[in-house]
């Protein structure tokens, strides 16, 4: 109103000004007058004050030229837009009216070596809508009631701004068929509500091999950033978008590039308000490749069952026995036939996002960190399972010969009484040689080995040399994420590791050597490392890189997209064939000679076995029980390594687990337990 008033006043002032000017001008004697009585004076053909014909013509030519030039300028610009750059505008116009929505590609399945589905996809029915449904609050409320979801949650899903405006917004996934049927029967009451088929990861065997298989989750910002930085990408690579589901651990993570499909595209026509008005074509998604693992379902199940048996037996002897790991591999090629870790987790908990409570639980020490794959990521002292390597070292460097003996009294005093060390068997093994030192796991024999190295003129670190030569202190290179390298302690390591200690405290001493020669103290190994070490012993020094990937099968039946080529990890030099024969003989003797109760479990197998127990001692905790075996003794193929954390003696807790796996391999369940619940498991 104010503006209007101002205009009226201004107009009035202007009128007044005009009237005054008219009055003033009227009295002016110049040629300029407002009103001529007779109208325009007749045209004077020639003479003063009149324009000549040529001048007139010139003016009109200029006017014509000016008008023409303006129009030509327009045409010139039009030419450049419509003839020269029309493709550019054509593209813009097309972008204007079409929106491309991506459709997810099904992820490849994960199969065992015989083609049994370990991870697959389950078709789900999802209710979704376009964002415009948010305006229709009545329908949204009705829909929320039918789905049994809070109104606010439904509204939030519809208005999810992390998705493009033209894509269908998921409201509820994996909706019950009865609910879907109701919505479809009453379609008129749910305008703009769609039921779409989706797919979700599903795990037919539940927690089976969960550590190995891993889980999927929404791509993280770090992963997206990493992709952006990676310039080595080639054209055919998958481009990830925020919200994509990717493998986050295990095989799902390691073989993400094979499992991930290539998303399809659907182009829709939209109007200026962004409302979808039609379809304009689509590119079908290409599913990811199926992956065949080296895992055998039967052996995997035996591994998991074995851990359960082992932990139960540990708990039966009043030990904690609350975490364990086992790995079974084919020593002839490195194929992992079974791999289990306890405690387990349910990978389906990650489908659709995991709650932070659950996530914290899976990572908490209190719950024994179920997410950790202990078979490759658990680092333990090797305990007596290291003794074959200690024997090889002793013989190679001449500090303990095959024919040498030690008199084990139960308390070894090689470095004087004051620094004496107990053999595990306090009553002593009597006079014992190296071969039997392995069979009976006599510590005193190996204390003498350590003493030999300590006093040697050269190669005081011969023990560590041999350990490293057999691949300890170094990751095996298994094709799974989060493998740990273990640790072979030596002088340099001790000095740098205990920085805060005094020089005296961190200097390498005989006690350290006495510890590591029997696998105690600061030495750390992973179960898969020990399996590899024993595979090397079985093979005569050669270890193959352990792996779980067998082949990738393209889903469209084009055959194998990729096949694993076996790779040698290392070949440890063996000083003398006789040395190897000695430790093999010792390992072969252990299951059959060491005690009748152990022998009972192996005599009922159709093949003969080489094995070694181990019991790691950590102050303030129950013992860590080890058992590593390979079979058949004369033509080795299978290696099984198992550890039960806080499970007691290896022969009591870990041995039954390994025996269970061997039983599954050779179809020969352990019958020597009688009257106990063990037998049934």
């Amino acid at each position: 109103m104010d503006a209007k008033l101002i205009v009226i006043i201004a107009g009035a002032i202007l009128m007044l000004a005009i009237l005054i000017s008219l009055f003033v001008l009227r009295s002016y004697s110049g040629r300029f007058t407002f009103d001529t009585v007779t109208g325009t004076r007749p045209k004077a053909s020639e003479g003063e004050g009149n324009t000549s014909g040529s001048q007139l013509k010139g003016r009109f030519q200029i006017l014509s030229f000016a008008a023409g030039a303006s129009l030509v300028a327009l045409i010139a610009k039009l030419w450049s837009m419509q003839m020269v750059s029309s493709d550019h505008y054509e593209t813009l116009s097309e972008e204007n009216r079409t929106r491309t929505v991506t459709t997810a590609a099904p992820r490849g399945r994960i199969l065992d070596r015989d083609g049994v589905e370990l991870v697959t996809n389950r078709a789900t029915l999802n209710v979704s809508s376009y964002r415009s449904l948010a305006d229709d609050t009545v329908t949204v409320r009705h829909l929320a009631n039918v789905l049994g979801l809070p109104y606010i949650a439904v509204m939030r899903s519809i208005q999810d701004y992390s998705q493009s405006a033209q894509s269908l917004h998921a409201i509820a996934s994996d909706v019950r068929r009865s609910t879907v049927a109701y919505i479809q029967e009453h379609a008129a009451e749910f305008p703009g509500v769609n039921v779409v088929e989706g797919s979700e990861r599903s795990y037919p065997y539940g927690t089976l091999a969960c550590h190995l298989l891993g889980y999927t989750g929404t791509i993280t910002q770090e992963q997206l950033d990493k992709q952006k930085k990676d310039s080595s990408k080639s054209a055919g690579d998958i481009t990830y978008e925020s919200g994509d589901i990717v493998g986050q651990a295990g095989v799902e993570g390691r073989y993400e590039s094979l499992l991930q499909g290539i998303r399809g595209e659907q182009t829709v026509r939209v109007d200026s308000a962004g409302t979808v008005v039609g379809q304009a074509g689509s590119v079908d998604p290409r599913p990811g490749s199926d992956i065949k693992l080296t895992i055998s379902l039967k052996i995997q199940q035996a591994c998991e069952e074995g851990l359960k048996i082992g932990m139960e037996r540990a708990q039966g002897t009043a030990r904690a026995g609350d975490a364990a790991a086992i790995v079974c591999l084919d020593c002839t090629n490195g194929e992992i036939l079974g791999m289990a870790s306890a405690p387990t987790f349910d990978p389906s908990a990650f489908v659709g996002g995991i709650s932070s409570d659950d996530w914290d639980k899976l990572n908490s020490e209190e719950h024994r960190t179920p997410l950790v794959n202990r078979a490759i990521g658990g680092q333990y002292m090797s305990a007596s399972t290291i003794k074959p390597l200690s024997s090889l070292a002793g013989m190679e460097f001449g500090v303990y010969s095959a024919s040498q003996t030690t008199n084990c009294t139960g308390f070894w005093t090689g470095f004087g009484k004051s620094s004496g060390k107990w053999c595990w068997n306090h009553s002593g093994h009597g006079t014992i040689n190296l071969r039997n030192g392995i069979v009976y796991s006599c510590d005193s024999v190996f204390y003498d080995v350590a003493k030999g190295f300590w006093n040697a003129k050269s190669d005081n670190d011969g023990l560590q040399q041999v350990f490293r030569r057999h691949g300890l202190g170094e990751a095996t290179g298994v094709d799974l994420p989060s493998e740990e390298p273990g640790r072979v302690p030596d002088k340099d390591w001790k000095e740098s590791y205990f920085k805060d200690w005094t020089d005296d405290q961190r200097s390498w001493n005989a006690g350290d050597l006495l510890n590591i020669v029997i696998g105690q103290g600061d030495i750390l190994v992973t179960p898969i490392q020990m399996a590899c070490v024993y595979a090397g012993i079985a093979n005569g020094g050669t270890q193959y890189v352990p792996h779980v990937f067998l082949s990738a099968v393209a889903r469209d039946g084009e055959g194998d997209a990729a096949t694993y080529q076996k790779k040698e990890r290392l070949t440890a030099k063996i000083h003398a064939k006789a040395d190897l024969e000695l430790i093999r003989d010792g390992l072969h003797g252990m299951p059959y000679e060491e005690s009748a109760s152990v022998a009972a479990h192996f005599n009922n197998l159709p093949v003969s076995v080489a094995a070694k127990t181990g019991t790691g001692e950590k102050s303030g905790e129950d013992e860590y029980g080890w058992f590593v075996a390979y079979a058949p003794f004369d033509k080795p193929q299978y290696v099984v390594a198992c550890i039960i954390e806080r499970g007691g003696f290896g022969a009591e807790c870990a041995m039954p687990a390994v025996r269970n796996v061997l039983g599954a391999i050779y179809d020969s369940p352990d019958t020597s337990y009688s009257g106990t619940s063990d037998q049934t498991m």
């Binding site: 004076r41 009149n50 008008a67 303006s70 039009l78 204007n96 009216r97």
Partner: protein, 395 residues
């Protein structure tokens, strides 16, 4: 009226006898060009009506009908008498320009101003369209008095000052775009009245300086007073969009971009009727009024746009010829003013659609939907025909 009838009788006699035919009574080139433009415009509006509800084709035809009646009436009238009525014309001009602000006549719909509703009939009308024509007569009347040569710079200055009255009034009434049309028409009339070139060049330089000063002062004054003075914010935005369309962030930037896309994507042959997605899917704003050229270009491509501009060229050059052949300086200047307005209006409207000119709200002659504009454009052609018809005889 009776004199009209008698002159008609005389005309009929002439046509049948010596001077040979209709071309003496009616300028055929102007007539055909106009007819072609109106037909072309009707086709475009019909196309627009397919997807835009507001583009009512019957209403467009009604506007053409009323315009033709007006044109015929004007063509038959000898308008030379208006030359001596400058005072009356100026008064009517001002009245018409401010009529939308007269209580009872003003009509506001959809936030538009500058409309009036004729009481009783209920017809809505944009008075500024009429004001354009009246101004042309007013300025031509003044300019004609110099008989083709202005001797004194004072006279020139006075003439310029007189143009400032209708121009400022239209701008004050809130329509800068139409104000510029009025201004350009007046400028052409003044230039054709015979001033010295130096004066004109000096005036242009002064105007440029004045406009720059205004733009600079505007933001300062806005800041000082806390609200829009001189130039309205939307006008400033339009200017900024024009200068830097990529970085401007406003509705105008969006409109301009959509218009550019529409024109550019038309290509050589255009997308064809019903396939123009920019205008058909609602991306292009005001596709039937201010941005009708973008719709035309998208539908009929460069070929269609070229045809349109060619028709305009024919109309304008034919009108200049009519002016040149006219008997009196007054008639000549009226035609020159009309040429100036048309040229500017066409250049500005098409220019804004293709990013050559800033966005203003002026319609494309003979094409844009809107009966006020259509009626007045027809009336303008009627005036040109009147000049042609009465070119050699004094009334």
């Amino acid at each position: 009226m009776s004199s009209n009838a008698s002159s008609l009788k005389r005309v009929n006699k002439q046509r049948s006898s010596v001077r040979g035919g209709i071309s003496q009574q009616v300028n055929v080139t102007v007539l055909l060009a106009t007819a072609a433009l109106i037909a072309y415009g009707s086709l475009i509006i019909w196309t627009a009506s397919l997807s835009i509800a507001e583009a009512s084709f019957p209403r467009h035809l009604l506007g053409i009908g009323l315009g033709l009646v007006l044109a015929v009436l004007l063509a038959r009238t000898d308008l030379r008498g208006l030359a001596g009525m400058s005072t009356v014309l100026l008064a009517i001009d001002i009245l018409v320009i401010f009529s939308p602000y007269i209580p009872g006549l003003s009509y506001n719909a959809k936030g538009m101003t500058g409309w009036m509703k004729l009481p009783g009939i209920g017809l809505t009308f944009q008075p500024v369209e009429l004001a354009k024509i009246i101004t042309a007569f007013f300025m031509a009347g003044l300019g004609a008095q110099y008989n083709g040569r202005i001797d004194s710079v004072r006279e020139y200055a006075k003439l310029c000052g007189m143009l400032a009255i209708p121009f400022c009034s239209v701008v004050l009434a809130g329509d800068l775009g139409s104000g510029l049309v009025v201004f350009m028409g007046g400028v052409v009339i003044i230039c054709m009245s015979g001033p010295r070139k130096e004066w004109v060049l000096a005036t242009i330089a002064m105007l440029i300086g004045l406009v720059s000063l205004l733009l600079a002062a505007d933001s300062v004054l806005d800041g000082l007073l806390g609200h829009d003075v001189l130039i309205k914010q939307y006008q400033m935005n339009r200017l900024l969009v024009f200068i830097d369309p990529e970085n401007a962030n406003s509705d105008d930037a969006y409109n301009l971009m959509q218009s550019l896309i529409a024109v550019g994507s038309g290509g050589f042959f255009g997308k064809g009727i019903g396939h123009a997605t920019q205008s058909g899917s609602g991306f292009l704003p005001e596709a039937h009024t201010d941005f009708v050229f973008a719709l035309l270009s998208e539908t009929f491509g460069f070929l269609g746009a070229f045809l349109l501009i060619a028709l305009y060229a024919v109309l304008i050059l034919a009108t200049i010829r009519v002016a040149y052949k006219a008997d009196s300086p007054f008639q000549r200047l009226v035609c020159a003013g009309i040429v100036g307005m048309w040229t500017f209006q066409i250049f500005e409207n098409i220019g804004m659609c293709i990013g050559l000119m800033p966005i203003t709200g002026i319609p494309l002659p003979f094409i844009s939907f809107g009966s006020s504009s259509m009626m007045m454009q027809c009336a303008t052609v009627g005036i040109v025909q009147s000049v042609w018809r009465h070119r050699a005889k004094s009334s």
